[in-house]
């Protein structure tokens, strides 16, 4: 099989970067397995409990970049109690002890500590890139360690983390000699920012491409920053707070005009509308626009901005833009690939900001659309069928009707047919979230048609175990299945135990599964960790002789693992 020396094969492998492809390569033969192992640069671990750091190091001794994910997706919505797990500390410690030359660490939904960040900053001489998404447990002191010790840091990207802001001087911890910054995102920090230190840092960072500021950076500081960094590609604006100061606005406009490389804009947490217009000159170049936090800006101003953005590929917006606004998007943004429409009113107040009409308009106007997340008050089967016809290219389709169990508001029928049309038309659909009134029928459709589906989110849907069975039997590529408040029970859970070996994880909360069923599953599948999470019980489940037939109190989370039961589970997590 090997007609070439190893170095040549390795060189060929360098061009193969996707994890899936590299995993496939390693299965071809022993020789390729070995070459691939030693040459793997980027390791992706979708569930930090599926493997241990020691085994990771044994398999891939030479990697440079590690991506780790911790808590299950529903943790984003407060369904996983605090303290459940996802601690990165053991990973950092193990990597620090080894001699791996870590350069990049990307974490999602993990618990990070200041001690961990300090250890990280001291252990890897060439550390370049830290990306933390939806993490928690650390403070600006940890950031100070990173700033102080990582001489070659390029990226410090903090996305939507919960960071304890000690209002310290972490920004001034970057040494004066440090000039290699490329990405700086601290938008999620709540406290004040040392503006002087920030300006000096930006001024000495000629390679800075991405800068995302937090709320505390006012308009005039923004203008100065942009003047220092006209090469910026990705800008996150902080707050504009009632800046009626026209001089500041003029300076901002002048600075913006020089930013000819600007392609991505976000932030605007508290923006005054008249300053939005300062960005109009650069809109024609924008490919990405995130206005989903701009709750203060009226729909009409948003529309005026978007009218200039003809090259937009990605748009995140609030539903205050309305159906009319979405029609403008549809007629302006012909390159649009990804759209997310978030709800302003989270309590379903009945204010119909966007409806099925907006969705249909987008589907009709944007032929390249492949990813959508759409929160709305109402939907119809007819609209979904039209959308499916207009856009058969969806890879991600997530529809959230704010009111659970809401049927087609015109016919009062369930939305089975609408979602059925989507899965039937979109042959490449990988991710789907369903909502509204749904019976087992929709799952029959999903099982039949969604052959490429990898992630499915179900809430308040279905009638019987059949629904879940249709999905488990039909979707051969399913990786992550998360279900809440749906009547699926033991029969569905236990029907095909081996299925879970092909999946990363299954989440079921407020469903019909019983403890007995979960125990049976755990016995049949020792390669699974079957966790029962109940934050109100604190280990009393075992003490009270929890009856096997009692329904699982709250949450079931199971995932395949090669390292058995985890040792860091808190008392309210019972691993069967």
């Amino acid at each position: 099989m090997n007609y070439f020396p190893d170095e040549v094969i390795e060189h060929v492998f360098d061009f193969v970067t996707s994890h899936k492809d590299r995993n496939s390569i390693s299965l071809v033969c022993k020789s390729w397995f070995k070459i691939e192992r030693y040459s793997r640069q980027n390791v992706f671990i979708g569930n930090c409990y599926s493997i241990s750091p020691e085994r990771l190091l044994r398999r891939f001794p030479c990697f440079k970049s590690l991506t780790l994910k911790g808590k299950p997706h529903f943790a984003d919505f407060n369904l996983v109690p605090h303290g459940w797990g996802g601690f990165v500390q053991p990973w950092i410690e193990a990597l620090a002890r080894s001699r791996v030359g870590l350069e990049e660490l990307r974490l999602k939904r993990m618990v990070v500590t200041d001690e961990g960040l300090e250890l990280l900053s001291r252990s890897f001489v060439n550390f370049k890139s830290l990306v933390l998404v939806s993490c928690e447990g650390f403070s600006t002191d940890g950031l100070a360690s990173i700033a102080s010790n990582c001489r070659h840091l390029r990226d410090l990207d903090l996305q939507e983390n919960e960071i304890d802001d000690h209002r310290g001087q972490w920004l001034s911890c970057f040494p004066e000699t440090y000039t290699s910054l490329v990405t700086l995102n601290f938008a999620c920090l709540e406290g004040e920012t040392n503006l002087v230190a920030l300006e000096r840092l930006v001024a000495r960072s000629p390679n800075l491409r991405s800068l995302k500021l937090n709320r505390a950076v006012p308009l005039d500081a923004l203008a100065r920053l942009m003047a220092c960094a006209p090469q910026i590609v990705d800008l996150g604006v902080g707050s504009y707070e009632d800046e009626q100061d026209s001089e500041s606005c003029l300076k901002l406009q002048a600075a913006i005009r020089k930013c000819t490389s600007l392609r991505s804009l976000s932030g605007f947490l508290e923006a005054a509308p008249h300053c939005l217009s300062a960005f109009h000159p650069v809109c024609h170049n924008l490919t990405s626009l995130n206005l989903s936090y701009a709750a203060e800006i009226h729909g009409s101003h948003l529309i005026k901005l978007i009218e200039h953005c003809k090259k937009l590929q990605r748009l995140w917006i609030l539903d205050s833009i309305g159906d009319k606004g979405l029609e403008v998007v549809a007629s302006t943004c012909k390159e649009l690939q990804e759209l997310r429409v978030f709800p302003t009113d989270l309590h379903g107040g009945g204010n119909t900001a966007v409806t099925e009409d907006g969705l249909v308009a987008i589907s009709a106007g944007c032929p390249k659309l492949h990813s959508i997340l759409y929160f709305c008050q109402q939907m119809t089967n007819a609209a979904l069928i039209t959308v499916a016809r207009n856009c058969p290219n969806f890879i991600r389709f997530r529809l959230c009707i704010l009111e659970p169990h809401k049927p087609d508001h015109v016919t009062s029928q369930p939305l089975d047919e609408g979602f059925g049309a989507i899965v039937q038309a979109c042959k490449n659909l990988k991710r789907l979230s369903v909502s509204g009134l749904l019976t087992d029928q929709v799952f029959l459709y999903i099982g039949m048609f969604a052959t490429q589906l990898e992630m499915l989110s179900i809430a308040f849907a279905g009638d019987t175990d059949k629904g879940m069975l249709y999905v488990l039997n039909g979707c051969k590529k399913m990786r992550k299945l998360e279900i809440r408040d749906s009547p699926f029970g033991d029969a569905a859970l236990l029907a095909d135990v081996n299925k879970y070996e092909t999946m990363r994880s299954l989440w079921m909360s407020s469903c019909e599964v019983t403890l007995g069923g979960c125990k049976r599953l755990a016995r049949k599948a020792p390669w699974l960790n079957v966790e029962i999470i109940n934050e109100n019980d604190n280990n009393r489940m075992e003490e009270n002789g929890y009856e096997g037939r009692q329904k699982v109190d709250n949450k079931l989370y199971l995932y395949r693992t090669v390292v058995g039961t985890r040792v860091d589970a808190p008392p309210f997590v019972w691993i069967l």
Binding site: P404, A459, E512, E535
Partner: protein, 332 residues
């Protein structure tokens, strides 16, 4: 109701309760064959002034059903149901919402809020079994479900309630719904709050703050906007942290009684062993209670249940505490 029908309906109640415990959506499609039979029993709660419905459901129920339908579980669950605490980590038995939350199992969360969710309103009487005999209460918020029933059944108790027209009475929130990241919720809430302070309108979004307790192994989070006064907050925290204090009550001994039986965090909070403190916008730790509730939720960033001795400002206490006491004295 005649005895037989009562028996049947009780039987169907039992299974339907079991179903309902897991099912927020009451079954709708009586027309469909097997799919309907499981959930259809749920509907027996609906149009209860119609005995025909009940016996119809009861009959359907006895047909072999797919899935797990063990009758023995029902009694357990009926016992479980009313007593089961609401599982939501953030809204543990808020006094104002008790009648909804505590009497139902964790499924029945969005009670007054969502009209299409009217089945949860149905389930409230079902859980508290005594109400089962008074099905009129159930009819209160039928909208979608009743329409469906009307389509499929000859008789019509057709509710013409339009979902969008009638505003809900009390908005109880479902945990984790809508599926919006808490980071986003908090950020938007803060944004709205800031502008609302200017406008004078009350903020509408949730306001989550972390609550920690000395000695507790993990934090909790509460939504300050879901309470309207200190009493509610205190009661909620009490329920949340009771499990921890049970282990520590031995040291209290304040009352000299058998504290184990009487231990309430409330007692502990109300001046005995623990005090409730909060971190304000300036990063200082203050005793809770100095300000009016509205001002408090505007400035509170975090909560902490501290041991009384720590908060009094002894030399060994953490630095902010003495200042906190001074500050509160100054403002008092």
């Amino acid at each position: 109701m005649s005895p037989e029908e009562e028996l049947q309906s009780n039987g169907s109640v039992a299974s339907s309760t079991r179903n309902i415990v897991g099912v927020l959506k009451e079954h709708n499609y009586l027309g469909l064959s097997d799919c309907s039979s499981v959930g259809s029993s749920n509907l027996s709660g609906l149009a209860d002034d119609d005995k025909a419905t009940i016996s119809l459901k009861a009959t359907e129920l006895t047909l072999g059903l797919p899935g797990s339908q063990s009758p023995a579980r029902d009694t357990e669950l009926n016992l479980l149901g009313p007593a089961k605490l609401d599982e939501k980590p953030f809204f543990p038995l808020l006094p104002s919402k008790d009648e909804m939350c505590s009497s139902s199992s964790h499924k029945n969360i969005a009670s007054g809020n969502k009209r299409g969710f009217s089945d949860t309103m149905d389930k409230v009487p079902l859980y508290t079994e005594k109400n089962w005999m008074f099905p009129e209460a159930v009819l209160a918020t039928q909208s979608v479900i009743k329409k469906e029933v009307a389509q499929n059944l000859p008789k019509g108790k057709l509710s013409t309630t339009n979902n969008s027209s009638s505003p809900p009475a009390a908005k109880a929130q479902i945990v984790g719904w809508p599926p919006v990241r808490s980071y986003r919720k908090n950020t938007l809430a803060t944004t709205c709050k800031n502008s609302d302070e200017v406008d004078g309108k009350p903020g509408s979004g949730p306001l989550f703050v972390k609550v920690s307790m000395d000695g507790a192994p993990y934090l909790r989070k509460v939504d300050l906007r879901s309470y309207t006064n200190y009493g509610e907050l205190s009661a909620a925290l009490e329920k949340m942290f009771t499990t921890f204090t049970l282990g520590q009550c031995g040291t209290s001994g304040a009352t000299g009684k058998d504290v184990r039986n009487e231990t309430k965090l409330k007692d502990l909070l109300n001046g005995k062993d623990y005090v409730l403190t909060y971190e304000d916008k300036d990063g200082d730790w203050m005793l809770v209670g100095d300000f009016s509730w509205e001002i408090f939720i505007g400035v509170c960033k975090k909560l902490k249940i501290m041991k009384g001795c720590d908060a009094i400002g002894l030399a060994a206490a953490p630095a902010p505490a003495p200042r906190a006491m001074e500050k509160s004295k100054m403002r008092a």
